[in-house]
Symmetry: C2
Amino acid sequence: MTDRADAGRDLGVRRGGVPEATVGRLPLYHRVLVDLADAGVDTVSSDALAATAGVSPAKLRKDLSFLGSYGTRGVGYEVSVLIEQIGAELGISSEWPVVIVGVGHLGHALANYGGFTSRGFRLVALFDEDPELVGTDVAGLVIRPFTDLPSVARAEGVTIGVVATPAAAAQDVADALVAAGVNSVLNFAPVVLTVPPSVDVRRVDLASELQILAFHQQRRGDELGQVAR
Amino acid sequence: MTDRADAGRDLGVRRGGVPEATVGRLPLYHRVLVDLADAGVDTVSSDALAATAGVSPAKLRKDLSFLGSYGTRGVGYEVSVLIEQIGAELGISSEWPVVIVGVGHLGHALANYGGFTSRGFRLVALFDEDPELVGTDVAGLVIRPFTDLPSVARAEGVTIGVVATPAAAAQDVADALVAAGVNSVLNFAPVVLTVPPSVDVRRVDLASELQILAFHQQRRGDELGQVAR
DNA sequence: AGGCGCTTGTGAAGGAGTGCACAAAGTTGC
DNA sequence: GCAACTTTGTGCACTCCTTCACAAGCGCCT
Ligand SMILES: NC(=O)c1ccc[n+]([C@@H]2O[C@H](COP(=O)([O-])OP(=O)(O)OC[C@H]3O[C@@H](n4cnc5c(N)ncnc54)[C@H](O)[C@@H]3O)[C@@H](O)[C@H]2O)c1
Ligand SMILES: NC(=O)c1ccc[n+]([C@@H]2O[C@H](COP(=O)([O-])OP(=O)(O)OC[C@H]3O[C@@H](n4cnc5c(N)ncnc54)[C@H](O)[C@@H]3O)[C@@H](O)[C@H]2O)c1
């Protein structure tokens, strides 16, 4: 059921007014809540939930307040209600069709990743350019030639594409995805993709993450020499 | 060298005062600059560099200003100088030893990822618990039993560890890493790790990234009045 | 019924990050 | 040597995010 016809009473909360920072944490909350539900918990306080999610209680409460008032004062939040509300906000209710382009080491791992399909996404196709790979089976799907992208994308209504090709091919792949109607891209290649403003790109960059860790590590090391007054 | 006892007055730029948001972008700048250098470019303006990195020129200039004044007014920045300065800030000069725990689909891909070793990191060991895997060769390294972690970590001075095990094992693995002296962790498992405050954890979460894309996708759809179909 | 303890929801304060605009500082051309 | 032009570096205002603190609301107990 698509209950997007607002049930009328959220005039106080702007529908599209969830801050970006909050959006970035909603998936985390959702996962933690699902884990709690699996563990048989049916009610949590903001303090407890914040602790398990690793954020401050005030931040958590404010985040949740953007979705509406789904808690009970003096008691806490009902886990199932929160899961449903956050899920609705993130669009987990619907099943987003996803394609992966580039089935090398990384693409292979992604295709076999269960977390994809268990959180509102359906992997509908794998594409690669390598003739050796095309036709082989990965994670229950047949790898298709990259040239099939347009027809598959339109047939399945694909709006999200994952780029897992080498950096050199990533821009071309992105262009093809955009041309095929995909307007959300998750990019693993270490390049900045140029796309029309209507297209949303998120970059996942392993090396960057490590370098940020290294930076903090180094700073910590530097400070050890100075702590002694 | 650049660090003498600061005589009570900071020179406008604080050593160690680089904002977190800037730190998060430095790896991006570094990569873009290396690409430019490879392409034979030796000077860039903030406008040009900002465009290739996908950020605003003002932001870029402010970011770089935290490292010092390495540009030339009227000209721009010398690519090699910037690479060196950013590299130094990030600790790329030294080679950080890294270990990966959990050599399944994802760990396999990570071990074979060239970007690791080419950016100041050296993969020193792979660990897994599975007896079938231990002893086999991946990316030129032998997979070692997880119990070897302490000795290897100390022998090589490992401070950065990558967790690529299933969620259920991640916390135990993190505990072992911390016990072995590792205090920077890159976690791919979809769980929130609990570690001492002295340990820095970064989480990379595929499903979250997709869900954030889905959120924006859904919002865009809603605003158009109706979703696909 | 009423008070008590607990937890949410939120205004308001404080802090971090971003964009703007321009003076300072360099280069080029004559 | 000077004027015109280019581009950096940064003070300032502004927006966004986080933290604080507490009134409002709910359930339970007496
Ligand atoms: N392996 C990792 O852990 C890792 C981590 C972070 C980022 N990355 C990045 O992810 C990307 C993929 O990494 P990988 O290790 O899987 O590389 P890979 O070489 O193993 O796989 C790349 C795949 O893309 C295919 N391909 C190439 N050009 C294509 C095109 N135009 N259209 C469709 N398919 C094409 C190739 O045939 C190959 O199968 C790279 O950009 C890499 O830098 C990898
Ligand atoms: N595959 C992906 O694309 C992907 C993406 C995002 C996140 N993840 C997460 O990364 C993790 C690994 O994913 P995967 O697909 O590689 O799983 P996988 O099952 O293929 O590999 C896990 C490996 O960890 C090893 N392992 C288990 N317990 C261990 C322990 N206590 N000590 C050492 N090694 C141990 C297993 O033997 C196995 O080799 C999972 O938590 C998954 O949710 C995977």
